[in-house]
């Protein structure tokens, strides 16, 4: 093959002559006794076994270790990874972003979001209860997708373990800490449920003449 195959070439799974896929080196198996004998002699005296030995010894000497000692170091995960949710706060004021619209509760396919709201003294809707049962959540990301306020997003915390199911519902665990919000350290979340960087270009004007 003259040029490197592109991704498109690889997507064409129709394996024919000249496509990106080709058979690996497949040799005819020897059939006659003489051919078999030749193969054995060939393999013995080309010292193929020693090539294998050399390769592993070289790797040992190079000592190019690829181990990630996991609990101590972690590999970065993609920003759009869907792990335990995060409940965001507004910048500076620190008010919870959630307006209690209930969309996430409605859309959740495993029915694990439960919330309760009331009308507060200023006639505004206030969220009194908000729990996600992470033991049931399938991390589909619908809640983050549907949220109109970017209040609920998926974070990168993928290690969940607990002795009790009740711990899997702790809202305060997911809530961005207040001091971070006030000091303006809330990371605008690039992950699932957040606005994508090129969102501005994708906005279309609403045709008014319906």
């Amino acid at each position: 093959m003259s040029k490197l195959p592109s991704l498109e070439d690889f997507k064409d799974r129709n394996v024919v002559e000249g496509s990106a896929y080709y058979d690996v080196d497949q040799r005819e198996a020897p059939t006659t006794g003489m051919e078999k004998f030749k193969q054995v002699v060939n393999r013995t005296f080309r010292f193929e076994l020693f090539i294998g030995l050399w390769v592993v010894l070289r790797e040992m000497i190079k000592f190019d270790i690829h181990t990630v000692s996991y609990p101590a170091e972690k590999l970065p995960i993609g920003p759009r990874y869907r792990a335990v949710h995060e409940m965001q706060r507004l910048w500076e004021s620190g008010t919870e972003r959630c307006i209690g619209c209930g969309l996430c509760e409605k859309i959740c396919i495993s029915d694990c979001i439960r919330m309760d709201t009331r009308i507060d003294e200023n006639s505004r809707k206030e969220v009194t209860e908000y729990t996600i049962n992470l033991g049931r959540c399938i991390f589909c990301g619908y809640c983050a997708e549907v949220c109109p306020e970017l209040a609920i997003v998926h974070g990168g915390r993928y290690e969940n373990v607990s002795e009790q199911r009740a711990h899997y519902t702790d809202f305060n665990d997911m809530l961005t800490p207040m001091d971070m919000a006030i000091s303006g350290k809330v990371a605008e979340y690039p992950g699932f449920g957040a606005v994508t960087p090129h969102e501005d270009e994708r906005i279309k004007t609403t045709p008014l003449a319906y």
């Binding site: 054995v40 076994l49 294998g52 030995l53 390769v55 592993v56 010894l57 790797e59 040992m60 000592f63 190019d64 270790i65 690829h66 181990t67 000692s69």
Partner: protein, 327 residues
């Protein structure tokens, strides 16, 4: 029999037992580390500095694990099988000179339990008895896979006994003695035996892999069935005995091949002693090295290799040696 001799022998036996049981443990540590480095991993790292105490952790685990004798097994045989493996491995060590003789306070110590005149024959015979361990263990386990693996193991062991014996015949013809000390001393004046008998060396090494059940011929345990072959039903210290037996065998084979073909401890100086340990370490490393590098062969390929390639080669080697010695 002198009391001093008796005491000396008992001390030697206990020392060998302790040293090689401990070495079996440390051997696993090195095996893991070497394999890990060759596969660009780190190996055990968490217990102790650089994971060195992993050996102790494994030992504690083995010793304190529940001893399970499954239903349907043939109890007495099931229980005796691991002992056979470990015991024969250590019994074989009786005729191996581990170091040249040295003096402590005017008392000459020969680091060999018994320099019998049929040394190498005894070692090989007792090592061969060791194969009753896997065989009986597999047969008594009431487990199909264990049985299959035992059968396969038996076939391999018996076939490669032939290779071991035939390959050693040629060097033994040259030396004219079975004693490992004599075999060692033969190489002081001349060159190492490997110079005279390279083919025998290669054959003996290959047979060694089969007899210790190490990787290219790791057929006694069914890695491809994701179970441990004849040891499937074993747990705790019973399994541990199989394990110690295997590692002790590896060490003893490393000693044998170093003494038989690579000059042993030479003229018995301190340098020679360290040289012997160096050679043994190399061959032990070689056992680990091949495990990282080579794939397992199929049982039929193994049989093919034994009967169609190695045995004719060994016989030809003997014939040629005989002719050369005659003229």
């Amino acid at each position: 029999m002198e009391t001093a001799y008796l005491i000396e022998t008992v001390i030697k036996i206990v020392t060998i037992l302790l040293v090689f049981s401990a070495l079996a443990g440390i051997g696993t540590y090195f095996e893991r580390k070497v394999l890990a480095f060759m596969q660009r991993r780190l190996g055990p790292m968490n217990v102790g500095p650089y994971g060195i105490a992993q050996v102790a952790a494994d030992g504690i685990k083995l010793f304190t694990k529940e001893d399970i004798v499954p239903t349907n097994v043939v109890g007495p045989i099931f229980k005796i099988a691991p002992v056979i493996t470990a015991a024969t491995a250590f019994m074989a060590a009786a005729a191996i000179p581990f170091l040249p003789s040295f003096e402590i306070g005017g008392y000459v110590v020969n680091p060999i339990v018994s320099d019998i005149n049929v040394g190498i024959l005894y070692v090989l015979a007792v090592m061969a008895v060791g194969f009753y361990g896997p065989l009986l263990g597999g047969m008594a386990s009431a487990n199909k896979y264990a049985l299959l693996s035992a059968a396969r193991g038996a076939a391999v062991f018996i076939s490669y006994e032939v290779i071991t014996g035939l390959s050693l015949l040629a060097p033994l013809m040259m030396v004219g003695s079975f004693s490992l000390i004599d075999l060692n001393n033969f190489q002081i004046e001349g060159y190492w035996m490997v110079v005279y008998q390279p083919v025998a060396m290669v054959l003996f090494l290959i047979a060694g892999f089969a007899e210790t059940g190490r990787t290219p011929f790791h057929l006694v345990a069914n890695d491809h069935e994701i179970i441990d072959g004849f040891g499937t039903e074993y747990s705790g210290m019973r399994w541990g005995l199989f394990f110690i037996g295997e590692y002790a065998n590896m060490f003893f084979y490393a000693f044998l091949i170093s003494i038989l073909f690579f000059g042993g401890f030479g003229d018995g100086s301190v340098l020679g002693a360290f040289a012997l340990l160096g050679k043994v370490s190399f061959f032990f490393f070689f056992f680990l090295w091949t495990r990282a590098a080579w794939p397992d062969v199929r049982p039929d390929q193994l049989m093919w290799l034994c009967w169609k390639v190695l045995m004719p080669l060994a016989v030809i080697n003997i014939v040629i040696t005989g002719f050369v010695m005659m003229f």
